[in-house]
Symmetry: C2
Subunit: 184 residues, 2 copies
Amino acid sequence: MEPSRWKSLPLSKAYQLLEPGPVVLLTTSGKGRNGRANVMTMSWHMMVEFEPPLLACVVSAADFSFAALRQTGDCVIAVPALKLAPTVVRIGNCSGRDVDKFEKFGLTPLAAEHVAAPLVGECFANLECRVADTGFVKKYDLFILEVLKIWIDPKQKNPKTIHHHGYGRFVVDGRTIRLGSRMR
Amino acid sequence: MEPSRWKSLPLSKAYQLLEPGPVVLLTTSGKGRNGRANVMTMSWHMMVEFEPPLLACVVSAADFSFAALRQTGDCVIAVPALKLAPTVVRIGNCSGRDVDKFEKFGLTPLAAEHVAAPLVGECFANLECRVADTGFVKKYDLFILEVLKIWIDPKQKNPKTIHHHGYGRFVVDGRTIRLGSRMR
């Protein structure tokens, strides 16, 4: 669990983690009025720019994380592998208003380098992000985030991510195919 | 290939098709100054609202489809299954400026109900969309689309989608797991 064993990945590779559409966790710090760090489950995210890497995500104004994201201006996107799937669902089924989710689910919050939000020790990838544009928050709860740092846990080899199809039905990564592409 | 055999899916299920992050095709009509229908490959998309279903996607200003999308205000998002993967990559490797991609790749354009852009006969799902908001186009090439109609091909059973990890490396849908979730 020591972050010291983690490797930093070039920012230009952020899209290789997020573009395939995995279910992710979003953490926020306790710096805002909410007062405690929180973690939520999220599938509504996409890449917007390769480098510096920008992504868009939707965090509902009804979510406990929304106020923290607005007030603190930063978050971490953590990518869980299959083993964490049951925990990921339980995280999505309760609110940080009622419970300390890091404690309840035995997740390890680790200090990030550039942001106040915690990394998740159990995830194979953690992306430190700052809110870069709130122009679409009022209309769509849509945040533009800039990725500042990417951490990879080299001990989690070939992690399989999960993809949500609704109501707790997830498709797990299957085989990899390679097709000659000129596009990154 | 008759669209008559296709089933219409309730709009509230759009998210079940797009939230898992499949590589999709985006078609545009020849109504704009471009003059011909076109199809591009896209992975930068996400859901924004359940119902009426809104999605966001990034179509680069460098893409031939960009002008058509701006001028005509509509498009189709078509979801290809594994069998089409080699074609999907070839579609991404050339431009509609140089070639009629429907003809070149033997794709069947079919008339949509609400939009001028064509459905793709070979895809297992087709979503008719209109551009709902261009407020983030100038800054990020980001379009907000509203889904008007969803078509499903019932002959393609349990289609496996593909997820792009960069440079022509794709992960194919594997097994499905079900975990009790209170969230849709």
